[in-house]
């Protein structure tokens, strides 16, 4: 049983059938098997949040989930959210607020920020900081990131940033 196991899942709306080793984590499966390299691998023990993806609608750490655990699951990565336009305004705000910096943490930041905005249409800065507290920015660009998320909140509510 250390042999490959068959998994079938949906990734960004596309049905995927694959054979994976049990030890393969979801982040490596997305990156190396499917070529979806937007999901970044940082610490590989759940601290940094660079690998954040959505599984069945909830954000999770892709490095702390085995690919075999996603059998029958509905996985969404930054490529999916980007292609669908779901986070286009967040991405534009990150750009205009200089919240991108090196960009390594950005996909995870966007996934986490969009998760917050889906649950709470009017978070304050403290709530934004708290929800993003599981995502490390090694450039320490947090202030600009919070600015960008806050600007998106206001724009989505039809208010001036």
């Amino acid at each position: 049983m250390t042999e490959p196991v068959a998994v079938s899942l949906t990734v960004n709306g596309e049905r995927i059938d694959a054979q994976v080793l049990p030890r393969l984590n979801l982040a490596d499966f997305l990156r190396e098997h499917l070529g979806l390299t937007g999901t970044h691998v940082g610490c590989e023990h759940g601290v940094c949040g660079a690998c954040t993806v959505r599984v069945d609608g909830d954000i999770v750490r892709a490095c702390l989930l085995l690919a075999v655990q996603t059998h029958n699951a509905f996985v969404e990565t930054i490529e999916g959210l980007s292609d669908s336009g779901e986070v286009a305004d967040l991405q534009a705000a990150f750009c205009s607020r200089n919240a991108l910096q090196c960009g390594y943490c950005t996909p995870g930041m966007l996934m986490a920020a969009q998760d917050l905005l889906r649950q709470n249409a009017a978070p304050d800065r403290a709530q934004i900081r708290e929800h993003l507290s599981g995502n490390y920015c090694r450039c320490t660009g947090y202030h600009a990131i919070v600015d960008a998320v806050e600007a998106t909140v206001l724009a989505r509510r039809g208010e001036q940033p």
Binding site: M1, T2, V5, L21, P22, R23, N25, D28, E44, H45, G46, G49, T52, D58, I59, V60, R61, C63, L64, L65, L66, V68, Q69, A112, D115, L116, E130, H131, S133, G134, N135
Partner: protein, 293 residues
């Protein structure tokens, strides 16, 4: 780093899971949410031959109240506990504590049973369980055992759970009308493990404690039900009584030094937390001033 190779099996019934644990014993690890197990595998601190993934055992996901007990199934995720109306009404201490457990993406996978079975001495939920006088329900092919939370945690990452047993639920006496609770922890970053934390549950009789259960965590090899509370029960708390309780607490603490904090700092923070807890629960700002004493 990457996990070493293992075999993976996903039982579909509790009986199948128990049979697998009986068959593989110490060679197997139970995979629940995996939020502590996966880091251990990735860092190769753990290298089991088998992973028994209980994620499909949906019977273990229920949160329900019956007969004066709040029963939380082992597979209830942290986010389920955080958002549960039953928890908010009958064990609000857990909801208070849960916002300090890691981060949203981790709370979406981490489970109550996995957290308790992992028994990290700096973790919030084990301390809540001893403060709430919970029962841990474990099952094997031989039957079910019910353990007091205080007897369940026996060391660093060590519990009374045998290799062939599965933690299936916790049962918590529902909060009485006159009960109050306190939760606070000091951590470097919100969501990181605490340097020192306190989960407390009390019943009030006028301005005094009729009962006070202090569950300290990250100050020893397991959560500690501090006996120092006996100095504070049954009569109006004075500054002298609080100082006595703080001294008694310090005497029973045995924290370890690590890269987070030296022993003296942990003891100091524990004393501070005790004063903050007592002052908060009794609504006595005069006692909180004792924190600087």
């Amino acid at each position: 780093m990457k996990a070493s190779a293992f075999s993976y099996i996903r039982p579909t019934t509790i009986d199948d899971a128990l049979a697998l644990l009986a068959q593989h014993g110490e060679q197997a690890k139970v995979l629940s949410g995996g939020q502590s197990l996966m880091p251990a595998l990735n860092l190769r601190l753990s290298a089991p031959a088998w992973l028994v993934d209980i994620g499909g055992l949906s019977d273990l996901r229920t949160i329900a109240v019956s007969g004066g007990l709040l029963r939380i199934g082992a597979l209830a995720r942290h986010v389920d506990v955080l958002k549960s109306a039953e928890v908010a009404e009958h064990a609000p201490l857990l909801a208070d504590a849960m916002v300090h457990v890691a981060h949203p993406a981790i709370r979406n996978k981490g489970t109550m049973g996995g957290n308790l079975a992992h028994a990290d001495p700096a973790s919030e939920m084990p301390a809540c369980m001893i403060a709430l006088d919970a029962i841990i329900v474990v099952r094997s092919r031989a039957g079910e055992r019910r353990l007091q939370a205080c007897d369940f945690f026996i060391g660093i990452y060590e519990t009374a759970l045998a290799a062939e047993e599965l933690l299936v639920a916790v049962e918590i006496p529902v909060a009485k009308q006159n009960s109050v609770r306190f939760f606070h922890e000091y951590a470097r970053r919100k969501g990181d493990y605490a340097i020192v934390g306190l989960a407390a549950s009390a019943t009030l009789d006028g301005g005094s404690f009729a009962d006070l259960r202090l569950g300290f965590f990250a100050v020893g090899d397991r959560p500690l039900l501090a006996t120092a509370s006996r100095h504070l029960i049954g009569r109006p708390v004075t500054a002298a009584m609080l100082a006595e309780a703080q001294a008694a607490l310090e005497a029973e603490l045995d924290p370890q030094e690590d890269q987070q904090a030296p022993v003296a700092m942990r003891k100091h923070l524990a004393r501070q937390l005790l004063a903050l807890c007592v002052a908060t629960l009794l609504g006595r700002a005069d006692l909180e001033a004792r924190r600087s004493a």
